[in-house]
Amino acid sequence: MVLVVLRRIGVFATTVVVASIVTFLLLSILPGNAARIALGVQASEADVAAQATLMGLDRPAIVRYLDWFGHVLIGDFGTSTVSRQPIGPEITDALGITVILVLTSVVLALLFAIPFGILTAVRQRKPDGAILSGISQIGVAVPGFLAGMLLVTVFAVTLRWLPAGGWVDPGEDVGGFLEHLILPAIALGSVQGAVLSRYVRSSVLEVMREDFIRTARAKGLGAGRALFRHGLRNAAVPVMTVLGLQIATLLVGAVVIERVFSIPGLGSLLLDKVALRDLPAVQGIVLVLVVFVLALNFLVDLAFTMIDPRLRSAT
């Protein structure tokens, strides 16, 4: 067990390094001179050359990469070419907001998907099960930003129950924080919840046909008890796989939702920095997003190992 965890940590660390190399390479093969981008089109050749030296662009790529990644490891993302401020603190602040948003929406999605999926599976042959299953189909088809705009229209514009956008730090005002969190989290989580509930449903249906559920019934457990004691953990395994895959989608969704609700998260920051052509900042943000996805997937992998004993000995 310990070995398996160590191995997974090793894989995680390796992937992070590979991801940093890919990020660095992708941004350095972008057309255009980074120094000229920083100074603008009117700058003279001499100024651009001086800027390039200042930014260290005259050094070989490998040196620049090691310099950049080495500093990233100690939390230093470099200096913005636009604001001349360190990028690190900006990223950390935005990351905190995005993490809260994404995790809240994951929790909401699970809180919806698990009971809903089980219900539609168990009541598969009943009319209510079929209707609920149809509703979740519709949910899958609605894109997150549309859900967000609908929510804003209903709850912020018409009913005036909740704010239409913006962000309040939980340290300042917990009530305000929650008010500002709830609509974007629902908008982001609703689609994921609908998709997940489809997977929960099919996974539970699958598990209900398993021989060991029949064994449990033969032991004298009722249908519901057999499903809860023996079925759900087994059904969780494929659902977790999907959840792991969805996390990347969630982050992409967060970029859009943060725009819709004007939340100063990583997504908003990334779009701002792209518009400003602030390459060091873009590079840092992309890396943080990638590592965030990898970290969540790493946690999902660990959870797998906890759930399924067959994974503890193999690989």
């Binding site: 160590l6 032991k219 004298g220 067959r310």
Partner: protein, 589 residues
């Protein structure tokens, strides 16, 4: 007379489309051991699931099922009452030891659960202790350790023991076993059957044992019910039914099960079951084949020497052939690296095959018999160049295939063909039969390909109007005929069959074996038949190699190996698969 433990009267089970059981009635007395035999689809399992009240929702049952005479009809009893009875008064062991246990739960906890559910043991800890005792009762080695194992850490036989421990935990009055040993190796099967027999006898539990295998019934049961198409056609003491079956179906079933008895043309007794198309008769295709297969030289049949591997002795070259053998294997070893273990330590090596050397003569029917994990499948895959040996040489039809590239094997692939075990899994469900059978053909135009498919289907006893159908529209036996047609269409010289009849019912098995025997003669094939079933090999093969733990331990003419096994392992194997004559002697009143 006392009240029977189980009384089933006029049980009818229907799906929306048809009746599956037609009003069957039988009693099982207290402590009586009753076998229920029949082929797949005859309604055996439906009978047991009806008794347990676990029929699928889509089926409806009428009639009456009573336990101990006291309980109300189980078919109409409320679910709560059934939950109290299941696992306590009646318990069931299922066929699939691999999937019948929850893979995420320790087996001890799964055994303990049946006691906590019924409150027969107070407290979780007591139940866990009892579970360990029960695991000891079913003779699981190191029961305390085994209780902490997850199902995937146990072998099939061990899992079936766990199932049995679970079923016996609350001392039920009725034990239902549905094909409990079908998925197990023959030697393990014998042990588990003995265990079931002993447990129910000691505890006076009534037993309903469902199986397709008459030998299993003879081993354990006192009485036998024979089912055919949803009806019980015969009911009597095992000895009487085996030696003097009354119903024509039973007579045929017993004749077809008996692989040692043949008719005056040397063919197995088959049952007149509907087959699509005409029975296998000599048709046009084989004649053509004779012309093609020019290499077939008539030579005196090769007779193998009867040899065995001495424990700790030097490797032996079995069945050595002078001249040009069809297959020649020398010093073949195959090792695997098992993943896992320590982080940086080299992966442990598993020996699949060790120093295997043997020949197969042209035209020989060579059987390879062994249990799961013996290495027989690895050997089969290497002979077909689907796997590569770690060391050693393999020559097939004079061509070295160890290490050969796929391009060099193209010709080899058409001359060596395979029939696999699973007739469902080895046919692409989305392809039509004509395309499946024609697929191995290369550089053949459409018209000729069609003509050859037709001829080939005819040769395996299928009508040509099956060509446009898909595999799921056929029975297991028919699918295996399609597989054989596919294998023979390239006019191979070597046919390798991997458990080719293991998934088939006895009656169909006899037909397919007859067909294989005919085709091997007609096409002058060299046959390598891999199986766990000694009976099948004895019937079909002239020479047999016994493989155990990656080594051939004994090889010789089939009859000699049977009648005078030299190696201890062979003796064990032979005694675990008694012939029908022996069974009849054993159960004789």
């Amino acid at each position: 007379m006392t009240v029977p433990t189980l009384s089933v009267s006029d049980l009818t089970v229907s799906s929306p489309f048809a009746d599956l059981l037609h009003g069957i009635s039988f009693d099982i007395a207290e402590g009586e051991r009753v076998g229920l035999i029949g082929e797949s689809g005859s309604g055996k399992s439906l009978t047991a699931t009806s008794v347990m009240g676990l029929l699928p929702e889509t089926l409806t049952a009428t009639g009456a099922i009573r336990l101990n005479g006291v309980d109300a009809d189980l078919l109409t009893a409320p679910e709560r009452r059934l939950n109290q009875l299941r696992g306590r008064t009646m318990a069931m062991v299922f066929q699939e030891p691999m999937t019948a246990l929850n893979p995420l739960m320790r087996v001890g906890a799964q055994v303990a659960e049946i006691m906590t559910v019924h409150h027969t043991e107070t407290g979780r800890r007591r139940a866990r202790q009892r579970a360990v005792e029960l695991l000891a009762l079913v003779k699981l080695p190191n029961p305390a350790e085994a209780a902490l194992a997850f199902p995937h850490q146990l072998s099939g036989g061990q899992r079936q023991r766990v199932m049995l421990a679970m079923a016996m935990a609350n001392d039920p009055q009725l034990l239902l076993c549905d094909e409990p040993t079908t998925a197990l190796d023959v030697t393990v099967q014998a042990e588990v059957l003995k265990l079931i027999g002993n447990l129910v006898t000691e505890r006076g539990t009534a037993l309903l044992l469902i199986t397709h295998d008459i030998a299993v019934v003879a081993e354990v049961c006192q009485r036998v019910l024979v089912m055919y198409q949803g009806e019980i056609v015969e009911d009597g003491p095992v000895g009487r039914v085996l030696t003097a079956p009354q119903h024509p179906y039973t007579q045929k079933l017993i004749a077809a099960s008996d692989l040692s008895s043949v008719d005056d043309r040397g063919r197995l007794h088959t049952m007149s079951m509907p087959v699509v198309g005409r029975p296998p008769v000599a048709v046009s295709a084989p004649r053509q084949v004779h012309a093609d297969a020019a290499a077939a030289v008539i030579r005196p049949p090769h007779r193998a020497a009867h040899q065995r591997l001495e424990p700790g002795g030097p490797p032996v070259i079995f069945n050595e052939v002078t001249g040009a053998p069809a297959i020649s294997v020398r010093d073949l070893s195959r090792q695997y690296r098992r993943r896992g273990g320590a982080l940086f330590a080299p992966a442990p090596i598993v020996h699949g095959l060790r120093d295997v050397s043997f020949d197969v003569a042209e035209g020989q029917r060579f059987g390879i018999v062994g249990e799961s994990g013996s290495g027989k499948s690895t050997l089969m895959r290497i002979l077909c160049a689907l796997d590569q040996p770690t060391t050693g040489t393999v020559d097939v039809l004079g061509q070295p295939i160890a290490g050969a590239s796929e391009r060099h094997l193209r010709d080899f692939r058409s001359r060596v063909q395979i029939v696999f075990q699973d007739p469902m899994g080895s046919l692409d469900p989305r392809m039509k039969v004509r395309d499946i059978v024609a697929e191995p053909l290369r550089n053949v135009n459409r018209a000729e390909s069609l003509a050859r498919v037709e001829a080939q289907l005819n040769a395996v006893g299928l009508d040509i109007d099956v060509m446009n159908r898909h595999p799921h529209q056929f029975s297991g036996g028919q699918r295996q005929r399609i597989s054989i047609a596919r294998a023979l269409i390239t006019r191979p010289r070597v046919l390798v069959a991997d458990e080719a009849v293991s998934a088939l019912d006895v009656s169909v098995r006899a037909q397919v074996l007859n067909l294989l025997a005919d085709l091997v003669d007609q096409y002058q094939l060299t046959l390598v038949f891999v199986s766990h079933d000694l009976g099948v090999i004895r019937h079909l093969c002239d020479t047999v190699a016994v493989i155990s733990d990656g080594r051939i331990v004994e090889c010789g003419p089939t009859a000699d190996v049977y009648d005078g096994p030299l190696h201890a392992y062979t003796r064990q194997l032979v005694s675990a698969t008694p012939s029908m004559d022996e069974l009849a002697r054993r159960v004789a009143p």
